[in-house]
Structure formats: structure tokens, C-alpha cells
Amino acid sequence: MNPSLSKNTWLREWSGPLTAELARTPGSFGLGQVPLRLAPDSLVSMVCGYCSTGCGLNVHLKDGRAVSLTPDPHHPVNLGMACPKGWEALTPLAAPDRLTTPLLRDRQTGRLEPVSWIRAMSEFVSRMRGIQERHGPHSLAYLSTGQITTEEMALLGSLFKFGMGGLHGDSNTRQCMATSHVAYKQSLGFDAPPFTYADFEESDVLIFVGSNPCIAHPIMWQRVLRNPHSPEIVVLDPRRTETAVNATLHLALKPKSDLTLLYGLAAALIQAGAVKAEFVNAHTTGFAEFAQFVAEFTPERVCLAAGLERPDFDRCVNLIAQGKRVSFWWTMGVNQGHESTRTAQAIINLALMTGNIGRPGTGANSITGQCNAMGSRLFANVTSLLGGRDTSNPDDRTHVARILGIPVERIPTEKSWAYDQILAGIDTGDIRGLWVIATNPAQSWIDQHRFLDRLKKLDFLVVQDLYSTTEMAQRADLILPAAGWGEKEGTFINSERRIGVLKNVSPAPGEALSDFSIFRLVAEAWGCGQLFREWRTPEAAFQILKRLSAGQPCDFTGIRDYRHLDEAGGIQWPYRAGQEDRLPASETRERRLFADGGFFHADGRARFHFEHPVPVAEPTTNEYPYVLLTGRGTSAQWHTNSRTGKSAILRALYPADLYLEIHPEDAGRLGLVGGGQVRVSSRRGTLLADVLITPTVSPGQVYLPMHYPEVNRLTCAQFDPYSRQPSYKHCAVALARP
């Protein structure tokens, strides 16, 4: 009996039905106490579906249904911890605006009406085919995501290009990781982030460039705080972010002076004699030219350009020069820039020239954004051919055709357009039909008004999503209801190349189908189902992916199946067949690349890439005197908030309305008061935001969190020429009292 029950008197009820609602019980499975009414009868572990950290989450099941979840204490990534999004991963599945049937826009009323899958497929095929017949096979395009499984991405890319005869497809990883992809490929020979999370714990100097892991990747920051070497932490960021206040040195550089600063650091390191000549000579190409190139980036010039104090600059140089294990980490502050590929490569150059790669606690390390951006980079079949191959290489095409058992002539020889080029193609009438899968560019794409105008020019817009309410779905002609994370099987690849498995623990509402099933259905309806007979289930597709990876740097043929992944807590590539027996015990759970100094270019050498910095497209003027930065708001918000916005407890963790961070000096001059409102205008649009006065942004700069629908009305569509990633981190705005 509950001991407090015996305390009950007629005057004082120590227990009873209301108290019982909060009763806890030992949860078994090593869970500790759990709420009595949610006590699980079984448990499955799966990888989280938000960011690229790839945390293991234990889903608690009761009578076969997911009732709760807790972070997996045995998972090598997160060690029993999760950020708020992970804790709340199940909640968005139960949202009332989940799609339960396909919806078709009625041509008379203009309203979206429920239809059957048969009708939806017939509409999809007849209208998409109609467009192809009128405007050619390449007049269709798709925009996909880093949020679906690798198996789904591979099936979509194969179906669209090999089955439907399309060419142009891209994914929202263009907004997030395209730069890292291109930078690694050019510098190291393959899109291969070299690190493992243990490197956070083993560095003595960590350099974060345009990265705010405290809130964007909190579980990675956990690993930094577990570092036993009292590391020096350097943060390069225009804002005094959560990570910057936790750093031992914060370089608050001017927006988009990063490339100049990184070249200046390289020049100063050469001056300081910090170059590891032996490593550079043995494993790289082009250092002499690079050294010559950066010589003009003197400390004086760089400090002036970046707005830094000389002692801070010198200290950063010394930390890198004297560090024994220096690791460099970058995220969206770098990737979402107008010269982002060269910026990322400037970081890679620093790691190469100082020999900080391939050893524990080192590396030029791109922290990925989305849960499966890495899967997309390898298998989306977007710009490269399946498995990181080259679509213009006949041998690669033949190889892929043989593995897939399809005629080689089905594989296009041309490269797909990038995201922005597809959108431009809508303007020119080259693209007439668009299929958007699990992404919400109507909110997230740069220069929103222009994007929305372009959508109106389409003949047919199909959106495949969990919710009917996203800005994108609301504009669709046809909506296909998708099952989400937790309602399907498949794999994700995280930032440290770890392949993790997700599982079907919750029934999808109504007739919602997994993206994998929808793609199979489309294949069948299109009449090319025969080509994809082997893609029967996600796990069957995984076996195809294994074969596609064979012989590539990302070879994971040693992974048996999903159960193997599940038991291991995810497995990092490469994991070649036979390798499992040869791995030293220390590397069974965590491994890094390039320990032997061998890179993936044919000659085994890494390349130094560099180029003169170029100005931003839209410098500030008298009329638009402030630099607008955008980025992550809080750890409780994800992308366009289409999922995180469904959880009431997450909503309590960030302001409900859009707010502008502004320095007290600027606010004072403009007469803006805390808690009041401000009108923010750029050449492209205008919005109202609440005023948040804070010195964590510098004078002359303002900051908007990206999760609110109106932010990208303001942003300026400039793209990195190599990765074609949009530059969200710089545009000129004017501020006024509303």
C-alpha cells in the first residue's frame, strides 16, 4: 500500500485519485521510475529524426503502441541525453492537422478535397505525363529533403531519373550541406567528414566557425564539456551566441569577413612556423601556391577587415600553432554564405597545413544540419550518381545500371540543375510540374516573395508531407499524405557518418503512407514498377544501397542488416565486408578517417583550394543601413517549425512571435523600446517583429531567428558559385518604428 495513504485523515487527504495520476513506478529496462500509466511493456531504440547528431532514442511501447520515449543511455552518440526536440519526437505525430487522405484541389471551387489514392495516383500520372508530353521529359522537377530515409531518397532519385525520365531534382540539403559536400569533394576527393564525436573530447583546441552547437547541436556540446583536457575553445561568430559565451576566445568578426580572416590565420600560421611540412609534403598538393596566395593577408589587413583586436587574432594563431590536437568545426555560418565553398576549404586548408587531420581530436569537421543530410549527399541521386558517383562518367553509369538491373540508357548523362536553377527554370517555362517532398520552401527558401510568385507559374504542384497546413501544402494542387519518423523503417546517416536505423512504432493516421510506399506506388502507377521490383521493402533497398557503396569510400558492405545496426547503436562508414573482424577494439564504436594520411583523390593527396574573397551582393547603404543575419532561434525549434510547432511544451521554450535582436545603441538611436515592435524592410519585403534589445548582436547588425514564416521575405538570393547554396547570413535592411 502507498505509505502516504495511511496518513489520510478526514481533514487531510494525502492521497487519492488526483495524487494517483502522478504516481510513478519502476520502469524496468533500466529506465528508472516512469509514470505508472505509461509504464512500457517493451522498448525499441531508434535514431532521432531532427538534426544530424543522430541521437538514439528509446521508444516506450505499451500494447504495441509508442507511449513515451527517453534518450538511449547505451547509444554511442548521445549517452542517454537528448535535446527538447528529441524528447518531444513523438508529439508531432499526433497533431490534429495530420493528413489522412490525399487531397486534390477542385478546379471549380479551388478547395483541396479528399480523394482516394487511386484517384490521386491517376491525377499525378496523367498531369505529370501531360506536362512531359507537351514540354519534354525534363519539364518536371522535384524538391526533396534531408529528413527522409536514405532508402527513400535513393528510391525517389532512381524513380524520377531512371523511371519517370526526369532530370532535374534537388533537395533542401542544398540549403544546408551542399557547401560541405562540394568542399570536401574538391579538397579531400570524396564527401567525407573525417571525424567521430569522440574528437570533441580529445582535442586540446576546438575552433568553431559559424557554429552554435550549444543550441543547434546540444548533444555535441555535451561531448565538448566531457573533454578532460581543459580545452581552449575558439568561436568565430559575429554574434555573442550561447557557444561564444562558453568559449575561451570569441572572435566577433564582421559578417562575411570569415574567408579573409581564415586566410589571415593561414598566413600568420605560416609566419609562425606552424606548418607541418612533413605532412603537407607527403599528403597534399598545392601548398606552395596557397602560401604565396595568402601572404598578402597580413594581420593588420585582416583585423581591419574583420573588425578584430590584434591581441585576439594573435591569440587565436598561437592556440592553433601550439595546439597538439586542434579540431575545426563549422556549420551554417559557413555553409550559408556567398563564397561558402572556399570558406569551408579555407578551414580544411588550416587543418591540412597544420597536420590536424586523421588523428584523434583533430579534423576539418563539418557539423551537418539535418538528420539525413549525409544520406542525401551519398544516395539522393541528385547531383552525383548513387553512392557518390559521377553521372557523367560512363563507367559509373554502367556500374550503377548493373547493380540496379536497369538498362544503362535509363541513366541520364547530364547533371541535374541545382535548386535555384530549377526555380529559375519555372520562370523561363522550362519547369512546369513540381513535386515537393517533406520540405517547406514556401517558408524556408531565400527571397520568399519571388519563390511564391514562381509557384504560381507551375502547371502542377504536388506536395508530399505529414501536414496539410504547411505553407507549401496550402499551395499544392495535389497533396500526398505521408507517414513520418516513427511510422516507418529505414536508415539515416549522421554527421559522423554513422548509419542508424529508424522503426515503425506508431500507426500512421488514416491512409498516410511512408514516403517509400508512396514512391513505390508512383512507380507502379507510372508504369515503371518493373524497374524497382527489388525495392520491395526499405530493408531490401538497404541491401541495394550496400551493393552501391561497395568499393566507394563510403563502403558499408560489412553491415549485415537493420538488426546489426540496431545492436551496434549505429555503424559508421566505411565498414567494408570482412572489416568487422579486423577492427581494433577501440574502433568498433567510434572511427575516424585519414589515419594513414591517404585521401580520396586518385593520387591520394588532398588539395588546397583558395580564391580571392568577393564582396557580398548587397552591402549596407544609407537607405538599408543594417546587416540582417538569420539563423537558429532555440534548441526547441526546427526549420520551419512544421513539426516542433505541434508540441505545446516546445512552444513554451521560445517566443511565440517573431523577434528582432538589436544592439542597445541602435535601439536607442531609433527610439525602439524593449517589448515594442519594429518594422524591418529590405529591398524585397517587409515584416513586423518584436524588439529584443541585447548587446549579444553588434551595433549595425540585427538578427532574426529563421523559424518564423515571414523571415525570408527579407533575405537576398545570392548563391555560392560552387555549391549553389543560398546565402542566408547577409542582407541589408532598414529599421523603423511601425
Binding site: I118, P218, L513, I649, I693
Partner: protein, 556 residues
């Protein structure tokens, strides 16, 4: 090739069927409880004390601000691991923004420089040494464990009066509308009892939250100083309840303001309480005026104007009491309301108003029922002047009214909110009683003296209400409680404030100039009464809506 209909149909059925099968569960689920019942991970046990607190000590949360990086996982973990409602968590986060001083260089003579700073803070129940919630609870629904010091809420004892919400400076108790009670953090005492860490402690990736022993003997000055050094800037002063949470940091933080420092929104109006206070107070005044003037009936029911005024006051008083029941989430448990009389002004108010109800009821009966029914006391005259026992009864009534109003005032003064201090609450509540008296007097025998008296009461009241607006003129950038209240009244609540002033002016005009304008006493009196009562209701609405207490740092 167009659709091969039947094949697609078959596939749709097959895929929908597959989608409904939660096959992964069967394939992967760990069906057998493999690793016992302990909380995961050894590390959590380093974050809780190994022993029970010694005398003079209790458990307290300790937050290492230098380790808190702002992930907010503690909030969601509390929500999940305690099985709370959709939007419910017993931990909240806020942010402090501003500047701090750091040494300009390693050279100790170089002085300091100021750098921008932000700090996320996590707050839960502080399991105070002197818990305001517990001391204010009218039904003993709070218990402070004599050993651990954990302040626990007894959910089944709670009547849902929400007074603890007004009492707690940290917004800890939260009202659950669907249950009609409040709920709050119990420091996961059941977990601590078996050596498990509380949910928030378990879930912090950076081990920033732990449970430690803290001294609960607040008395020594030295300890008081130390406690304030481990408290947060821009948070309620800790000397009221003596919170036991300690916030540690190596940085200095003199210039930090809460992210919501500038946020200022009207508070909950609490309509049942507005009605309770206004109607009972007007009623008290009217009862006194009517029954002190009342003669006694002899052989027939007393329908004298004085008695009717007294009865009308009694009716208002009853209506106010009745309205208050709607403020309770668990009205059927309301009988417990006296239990906390030792410490709770809410209990005392309830007791005082119930005694007043008894006295007033008796007075009403005696004043109305024919004296002849009382046997030997009755006389043959038509009406008689006050009998000694009636004087005694009215005296008792007067005392009961005084005690009742004082307890009503103390209920709010005891929350230590500056807008509800004696200087605001006292004149308002007493003023309303006197206004009731004057209004009743105006009904009994309108005269210039009464009209002027009524005007004076009203003007004094308005003067005091207007004094609350003074802090709005401050030049300080920081917002004090008083300034926030003033800005609310002059900002979002301005229409209500204007209405309140207009109603008072109109009511006063009706009293002063009604007779000379040719209004009959009935019409003039009704007009004045209704208008002035409406004005008082608006005053009381402002009283609740414009209160803006200090709080723990919140989000922008």
C-alpha cells in the same frame, strides 16, 4: 502507359496494410526487462546526495550556470518523465541578457573590460525554507518534509483556490483547469527516495543541475549574504521565502536583465474575486448603515426603508460570497478552507466572512421578523427604537465587518506584491465599504451632508488609485513592479482606467446634482448606485489586472 488500375489498387491495399503493421516492434523490441529498475547511468548518482540531510539542512537544487548552455532539455524531461499534461512542466527556462565584466588581460593591473553576455537559467520549485505557498494555503494542501525539506503539494487536499499561485513569487504552482487543482514540482522525491536522480538532473547533458544539502537556518546574517550571492539578478528578492536553489557561476553578472524584463501584460482578472470583494464590501457598508438606523418591528414584518437597505446590503454580501465559490476548482471541498488559519490569511478571511455571515444573518432575522413572535420581548407599539440587544448585535456586526475587511486586505498584502501593498489595498477595500455606507445613507435620507461625504470618500479613493500611476514617470531603464503596474494602467488597461474614472464622476454627479436636476429619489438613487457599483467593479478589475509582480527570469 496509363494506369493499370487493378494492379495499382492491389498495391494500394497492400501498402496500406503494411503501413498499419507495426512490424518493427516485433522485430526489434526488447521484450524482456534486461537491466533492472535503476535509473540509467551511474553518473546521475554523483549528482544527488548519498545521505539524508542533517538537522538544519535540507535538499536544494544547485544549478551550475557555467555548465548550462541553453538546451532546455530539463523542461521536456520533467514533462515526459513525470507524465505531465500537454503543456505542463515543473521546470522553466529563461535567459539573462546584458554585459559582464572580465579582466582586460591576464595582467591583474589592467583592470576590467565589459563584454556582452547571455545566460540561460533553469528554474523549478525552490523548496523554500519559508514556503509562501504552504503558509498561504487555506486547506493545508502543502507539506514540507521535516527531513528533506521538499515542499510537496497534496493534490487531493487542494480546493483549487489558486491563492498559492498569488503567494509564490516564482510562478511555481500551476493551475490545472481540467482537474481544478494546482500541481507542482516535488523534486521527484520518489526517485530520490530510491537513489535515483530527479528527472531534470538525469536529463541535463552537461550535469548543470544537482541536488545538494543546503543550510536551512536562514537566521544568521552571514548565511543570508552568502545566499544572495548565489541568487539570480532580476529575480524576486529571496528574503521573503528563502528559496534553497543555489545558482553558481564564476563570472560576475552585474548588468544582466531577464529576457522578459520588458514584457508587461495584464494579469488574470479573477472575476469571482472581483465580485467577492466588491459586492461583500459594498454590502457590508450598506448593512451597517441600514441596520444602525433601523427600528424594530413589533407585530408585522419590518418593511422600513432602513431594514430594506440593510437587507439589500445583506443580499449583496451573500451574492459576493456566492460568486467566490466559482473561483474554486474543487468547490465541494470548500469546507476545508478554515484549516490553514494558523498561517493563511485566506483561511482567516474565510473564517471572518463566515462569522460575519452568521452575525449579519442573525441581525437580518431580528430586524425583520415581528417582535411579537419573540414573546416577552415584544411590545404593542408600532415600531420601537433600538433595543440594547440590537445595539449589541449591530456592534458585533461592526466588529465583524472590520475584521472581515482587514482579513480581505491582508490576503493581498501578504502576497508581497507592491501594487497590493497596504497603501493601495487598504484605502481601496475600506473605501468601498465606506462608499457602501454612504450610498445606503443616500437611500435612507438623501442630504447634502451625505452627498458631500460620499464625494469625499470617492475622491480620497481615487487619489490613492492615482498615486499608483506615479512610477510611470521614472527615467530608470529598469522596470520596478510599481512602474510596470503604472505602465499597464496607462497602456493596455487605459480604457478600463478611463471607464473607472468616468463611472466615478457620473455616479458622484448623480448623487450631488440628481435632486436639483429633478430626478426622483428612486431614479437618482438607482442611477447613482448602479454607476458607482460599476465603477468599483472596474477599480477592482484594475486591482487584479494591473498587478505585475517580480518573477524568475523568463524568455523574451
Amino acid at each position: 502507359m496509363p494506369l493499370s488500375g487493378s494492379e495499382v489498387r492491389t498495391l494500394v491495399d497492400e501498402l496500406l496494410h503494411e503501413q498499419r503493421e507495426l512490424s518493427a516492434v516485433a522485430k526489434f523490441a526488447r521484450a524482456s526487462p534486461s537491466t533492472g529498475n535503476r535509473a540509467p547511468g551511474q553518473r546521475h548518482r554523483d549528482l544527488i546526495p548519498l545521505t539524508a540531510p542533517r538537522p538544519g539542512e535540507q535538499y536544494g537544487f544547485e544549478v551550475d550556470l557555467d555548465r548550462c548552455s541553453g538546451c532546455k532539455g530539463c523542461v521536456t524531461a520533467c514533462h515526459t518523465l513525470n507524465g505531465l499534461d500537454e503543456a505542463e512542466s515543473w521546470r522553466e527556462v529563461g535567459v539573462l541578457l546584458g554585459e559582464i565584466q572580465i579582466p582586460a588581460s591576464p595582467d591583474p593591473n589592467a583592470g576590467n573590460r565589459v563584454i556582452p553576455w547571455q545566460q540561460t537559467v533553469t528554474t523549478a520549485c525552490h523548496h523554500c525554507v519559508e514556503p509562501a505557498c504552504l503558509l498561504g494555503c487555506p486547506v493545508l494542501a502543502y507539506d514540507k518534509d521535516p527531513v528533506t525539506g521538499i515542499v510537496r503539494h497534496l493534490d487531493d487536499q487542494c480546493i483549487g483556490c489558486s491563492y498559492c499561485i498569488l503567494k509564490c513569487p516564482y510562478e511555481v504552482p500551476q493551475f490545472s483547469a481540467k482537474r481544478g487543482i494546482v500541481r507542482k514540482c516535488d523534486m521527484c522525491q520518489g526517485r530520490l527516495a530510491v537513489g535515483e536522480a530527479p528527472a531534470c538532473v538525469q536529463a541535463c547533458p552537461n550535469e548543470a543541475i544537482r541536488i545538494t544539502h543546503v543550510r536551512s537556518d536562514w537566521a544568521t546574517i552571514e548565511w543570508r549574504e552568502k545566499r544572495e550571492a548565489t541568487w539570480l539578478p532580476d529575480a524576486p528578492a529571496p528574503d521573503y521565502t528563502v528559496p534553497t536553489t543555489r545558482y553558481l557561476t564564476k563570472t560576475q553578472r552585474p548588468y544582466l536583465a531577464a529576457g522578459d524584463h520588458y514584457r508587461n501584460r495584464p494579469a488574470h482578472a479573477h472575476w469571482p474575486l472581483i465580485l467577492l470583494l466588491t459586492l461583500t464590501q459594498i454590502g457590508m457598508g450598506a448593512m451597517l448603515a441600514g441596520w444602525w438606523r433601523n427600528g424594530l418591528p413589533t407585530t408585522a414584518w419590518n418593511l422600513s426603508r432602513a431594514n430594506l437597505v440593510g437587507l439589500a446590503g445583506f443580499g449583496l454580501f451573500l451574492a459576493g460570497l456566492g460568486a467566490s465559490v466559482f473561483h474554486l476548482g474543487q468547490p465541494r471541498k470548500a469546507w476545508r478552507v478554515w484549516l490553514g488559519w494558523r498561517t493563511s490569511w485566506m483561511s482567516r478571511e474565510a473564517i471572518a466572512l463566515n462569522l460575519l455571515l452568521g452575525v449579519a444573518g442573525t441581525t437580518a432575522a431580528v430586524s425583520t421578523v415581528p417582535l411579537a413572535w419573540l414573546g416577552p420581548l415584544g411590545r404593542a407599539d408600532a415600531t420601537v427604537p433600538l433595543l440594547p440587544f440590537q445595539v449589541a448585535l449591530c456592534g458585533l456586526l461592526t466588529v465583524a465587518v472590520a475584521v472581515g475587511v482587514v482579513t480581505q486586505i491582508m490576503v493581498y498584502v501578504d502576497t508581497r506584491r507592491s501594487y497590493w501593498s497596504w497603501s493601495q489595498t487598504g484605502p481601496r477595500f475600506l473605501g468601498t465599504v465606506l462608499l457602501g455606507t454612504a450610498l445606503a445613507g443616500n437611500w435612507l435620507e438623501p442630504s447634502p451632508v451625505i452627498a458631500i461625504g460620499l464625494g469625499l470618500i470617492l475622491l480620497l479613493k481615487l487619489a490613492q488609485e492615482t498615486r499608483a500611476l506615479k512610477p510611470a514617470q521614472s527615467d530608470e531603464s529598469r522596470r520596478t513592479q510599481g512602474r510596470r503596474s503604472a505602465e499597464l494602467i496607462l497602456g493596455p488597461l487605459r480604457p478600463l482606467w478611463c471607464f473607472r474614472l468616468l463611472a466615478a464622476a457620473f455616479g458622484l454627479a448623480a448623487v450631488l446634482f440628481g435632486p436639483s436636476a429633478g430626478l426622483t429619489p428612486l431614479i437618482g438613487g438607482t442611477l447613482a448606485s448602479v454607476t458607482l457599483l460599476t465603477g468599483e467593479l472596474a477599480e477592482r478589475w484594475l486591482f487584479f489586472a494591473a498587478v505585475s509582480p517580480d518573477k524568475m527570469p523568463g524568455l523574451p
